[in-house]
């Protein structure tokens, strides 16, 4: 996504006076064991990054802290960086160390 698109979306969300975005969070493997849920809805303020969402989740489930140094995040089935901006209805997945094969 380029800079102009980000600005346009921000302007759009301001004009509709949306101050928060609702997303779905998915937990797998060890993350699911820690949280005790496979998924949950999460509301964060608009403009929040994936990292902001993760901070909020760690505050809700302190056990997730142990995964911070070894997990990755995915948004809408693609790996993402912690600085990615989260949008309405995004699906954020907590991916603990994978072990397929």
């Amino acid at each position: 996504m380029d800079v102009t698109e980000v600005k346009a979306e921000n302007a759009d969300s301001q004009s509709s006076k949306k101050e928060s975005v609702k997303i779905k969070v998915l937990f797998f493997a060890r993350a699911r064991d820690i949280v005790g849920l496979p998924s949950m809805p999460l509301e964060v303020s608009s403009g929040s990054t994936a990292s902001d969402c993760l901070n909020k989740l760690v505050a809700l489930f302190p056990g997730l802290e142990e995964l911070r140094g070894c997990m990755v995040l995915a948004v809408n089935e693609e790996y993402t960086t912690e600085s990615a901006i989260i949008k309405e209805e995004d699906e954020l997945a907590i991916i603990p160390p994978i072990s397929g094969g």
Binding site: L26, F28, A29, R30, D33, C70, V72, L73, A74, E77, E78, Y79, T80, T81, E82, A84, A93, I95, P96, P97, I98, S99, G100, G101
Partner: protein, 198 residues
């Protein structure tokens, strides 16, 4: 047929065995002179502990996307005819296959190298997890391939596996030509270093 039509990705639900013969059949073709396969099976011990079974789970839609992306990367690096990647979910008892990869190509080097690339990349970037269940406990496993690549996964464009693969093609022969061509009077003998005049 387009490349993506010759790429088959299957994530099998619990209690569905991986049918190796079926998948080898999928990739076999008259124009393919080689089929390379990799089969990952549940081992009976880990560091001295007795393993009862492995239990797999996946973020299925993302796992399928990610495997397809890895298959596209392989096709950019090697001349491949057909690919099958199958991964089983749920409990996989000792001795049974959890993952199977089959690659067909005109020549064996492409099939073998691509097959190795596919399993290495799968272990590094496809969101599938296994819990190792022992007679006296259980543990979520972690692939070293993932830990090495973890910080790069979100940064690469178009997925994690657009990493450049260096393919080196070795010289065809180490000990010169097998055929001595003696047609004209100069009696040139072709060897590995070129033409030697006699």
């Amino acid at each position: 047929m387009a490349d993506d039509e010759r790429t088959t990705v299957e994530i099998l639900d619990e209690n569905n065995l991986i049918d190796l013969a079926k998948y080898i059949n999928y990739v076999s073709a008259p124009q393919a002179g080689a089929i390379a396969t990799f089969s990952g099976t549940t081992r009976d011990t880990f560091e001295g502990k007795t393993v009862v079974e492995l239990r797999y789970e996946a973020y299925v839609p993302m796992a399928i996307r990610q495997i397809k992306s890895i298959c596209s990367s392989a096709r950019e690096s090697w001349n491949i005819y057909s690919i099958v990647v199958a991964h089983r979910l749920g409990p996989v008892p000792v001795g049974e296959t959890s993952v199977f990869i089959a690659v067909s190509a005109v020549h064996r080097a492409d099939a073998l190298d691509a097959c190795k690339f596919l399993i290495d990349e799968l272990k590094a970037s496809v969101p599938i997890w296994k819990k190792e269940v022992y007679s006296n406990g259980e543990v979520w496993k972690e692939n070293s391939e993932f830990m090495e690549r973890r910080t790069d996964l979100g940064k690469m464009e178009g997925g994690c596996c657009r990493r450049k693969v260096e393919v080196s093609h070795a010289t065809k022969s180490c000990c010169g030509a097998k055929v001595k061509v003696d047609d004209d009077k100069t009696q040139g003998i072709v060897n590995g270093d070129g033409v030697k005049e006699q």
